[in-house]
């Protein structure tokens, strides 16, 4: 899925710096609350329960395809493994993957984008050409190419997704840096002899946080979908480690007889992707001065 366009991101940058002028318009909105509720809940469930699942998610049992019961809340899978425990573990995998992708992309993207916008010159020209080059290749091809070279697995997947999403963040972060570097306070900082790395990492960064947050949430949502797709294709998370996309792939041959095995991970992926998207949408509304139309 695509990301929020650069044009609207420009709209979210505060045009004036006086805090009083817009604090009043920043209200929590339904999207933001709902998004945080969904992601927060899944995060807590995944991380807390993921380390203490009710059963060993890898332990096979002698009762395959058991119906949900008091002992096994969601029944068991084709190998008699407790399905609820596997689902919880896959939730942890998915939450951690989307979070780490999002953090890596935010970190590298912010560094590249802010420095390119602030310093300009050759660095700007070169880095932005590379960014455009990566953006010009469909993300899934990059992911599959990296998978072919490095093999399949969790860290390879995070690396591949970071490569795909860093350019999006870099593009988004360059715009505010370009705009902010002409501000008086930046000139003042320069005159005061503050080193430029400090100006960039404090003034420019903190005044660019709003588009960064919108983009980061959007990247997390995309990463959930990308991970699910790659694992579904058998090219992402490798067995026996469960991930929601991988489970849809593994269990789809049993979906006639035991549809819950496919429905539950599907719901999980949709909830995660939807939750992150709600947060992106909520941040957008939260930081906008007016109700801006957006893509």
């Amino acid at each position: 899925m695509s990301v929020a366009s650069e044009d609207f991101i420009l709209d979210t940058i505060p045009q004036r710096i006086e805090p009083s002028s817009k604090r009043g318009t920043r209200r929590m909105n339904v999207s933001l609350i709902a998004g945080f509720a969904i992601i927060g809940l899944l995060l807590v469930a995944g991380i807390v329960a993921g380390f203490h699942p009710p059963y060993d998610p890898y332990a096979t049992g002698d009762d395959p395809f058991a119906a949900p019961s008091a002992a096994h809340w969601l029944g068991t899978d084709n190998l008699g493994r407790d399905f609820a425990s596997r689902l919880i573990l896959s939730l942890r995998t998915d939450v951690l993957l989307s979070l780490s992708t999002c953090l890596l992309a935010a970190l590298f993207g912010a560094v590249i984008g802010l420095t390119a916008g602030y310093f300009g010159g050759i660095w700007d020209a070169v880095s932005m050409r590379v960014v455009d080059g990566v953006l010009a290749i469909p993300g899934i091809l990059i992911a599959l190419l990296i998978r072919v070279i490095l093999g399949a697995g969790s860290w390879q997947l995070v690396l591949a997704m970071a490569v795909i999403y860093t350019p999006m963040m870099a593009r988004v972060m360059r715009a505010p840096a370009l705009q902010l570097r002409t501000r008086e306070y930046v000139a003042a900082a320069r005159i005061a002899g503050i080193p430029s790395w400090r100006t960039v990492s404090t003034h420019i960064l903190f005044n660019s946080l709003s588009p960064m947050l919108v983009q980061a949430a959007s990247i997390a949502s995309n990463a959930v979908a990308m991970e699910a797709a790659l694992s579904y294709l058998g090219q992402g998370i490798q067995p026996p480690q469960p991930s929601a996309g991988r489970m849809v792939f593994e269990y789809q041959m049993y979906m006639q007889t035991d549809p819950l095995l496919v429905i539950a991970p599907t719901v999980l992926i949709v909830l995660l992707s939807f939750g992150w998207n709600l947060i992106a949408d909520g941040f957008q509304t939260y930081f906008s001065l007016s109700e801006s139309d957006r893509l």
Binding site: I137, I140, I149, Y232
Partner: protein, 339 residues
């Protein structure tokens, strides 16, 4: 995808036409030129990436308990052309690709080029049909949503499009297949050759294309809406309103302006559409480029992987170029910049 080279915002003082034929020609030449560079870089990346894979292709010529001498290995390297420097190998490969020769598959008896030729039409059909569905669904809903900004219809359409954007298409597909298997039990999987049964081919391709088109259409709808809302705020609309033009008439006039930028969203969404076809082909067992790529990766058939990635990437570059070249034709007001 950014810096498209053409922008609708730059008008001269009279607000009129600034695109002259030489500028247009220059623009087209520049766009074609940069596409050729993109294709070149793509081929280089694909070629070098495959070479980064650890292991020696000569290993495939010996069984596990054989211990070949250095001479034997050198002989095989010479046979495969691996004794030459990488740029010579690249050149040989590229020259072959330009003649439609993608080399031999190492796990199937068919040349890579022939397999691609067989599978390519299905993927192209799927992508084109999905785009068609996206436009048919997205444009009307986007226009209604924009014309009735803030009203119930707008809220419903925006909500729906938001949900559709968050839904990975392959999950929608699996849910529909599951539902179908319990109720109607139609045949939904596989393909029928267009040459043998055109109607059957289109019928079977319709569902995967529709599923891909839904998410894409949601973007088109959002974009159309915001474009119409922007256009309705322009001064000429105020003038029309002042002279007593009805809202309905204004909407009809503004609609034409609002639809121009929709070309952009089609270009921007091409990448995710191509990603979508790779996955949806797998769900519906469509023997297209995507499933060829995935099968080849699973079999470690590197010449095939190389060919598949290059062709899918090249299609993307070419489609992008076509959209860019169409842009000045669709919107004659655009001014060419950086050409």
């Amino acid at each position: 995808m950014t810096d498209r080279g053409v922008t609708g915002d730059e008008r001269d003082d009279a607000g009129g036409v600034t695109l002259r034929i030489p500028a247009l020609a220059r623009y087209c030449a520049a766009r074609v030129g940069s596409s050729i560079v993109e294709l070149f870089v793509l081929s280089l990346i694909v070629f070098l990436a495959i070479r980064l894979i650890p292991g020696d292709p000569a290993a495939g010529f010996f069984s596990a308990n054989q211990s070949p001498t250095a001479e034997q290995i050198a002989q095989i390297h010479a046979k495969l052309g691996l004794d030459k420097p990488w740029y010579v190998q690249y050149w040989v490969w590229l020259a072959g690709v330009l003649h439609g020769d993608f080399g031999e598959s190492i796990t199937t008896p068919f040349p890579v080029g022939a397999q691609i030729a067989q599978r390519f039409p299905y993927s192209l059909e799927l992508a084109l049909m999905a785009t068609l569905f996206a436009l048919i669904i997205g444009i009307p809903f986007g226009l209604i949503s924009g014309a009735k900004k803030g009203r119930v219809a707008d809220v419903i359409i925006r909500g729906l499009s938001f949900v559709l954007i968050s839904l990975p298409p392959f999950l929608v597909a699996i849910a529909l297949l599951l539902w179908n298997s319990r109720t109607a039990k139609y045949r939904l999987i596989g393909v029928i050759s267009f040459a043998e049964n055109p109607l059957g081919n289109l019928q079977l391709m319709a569902l995967p294309a529709l599923i891909l088109g839904l998410g894409f259409g949601a973007y088109v709808s959002r974009y159309t809406r915001s474009s119409l809302v922007d256009d309705l705020e322009r001064p000429y609309v105020r003038t029309l309103r002042a002279i007593g033009t009805s809202d309905r008439q204004i909407a009809v006039i503004s609609m034409r302006n609002a639809l121009i930028p929709v070309t952009t969203v089609v270009a921007v969404e091409l990448a995710s559409l191509i990603g979508g076809t790779v996955i949806i082909e797998q769900v519906f067992s469509i023997p297209g480029m995507g499933s060829f790529l995935i099968e080849s990766i699973k079999r470690s058939d590197y010449p095939s992987v190389q060919g598949a990635i290059f062709v899918i990437g090249a299609v993307y570059v070419v489609l992008n170029l076509l959209v860019d070249l169409l842009y000045p034709l669709i919107d004659p007001r655009v001014k060419v910049v950086n050409a």
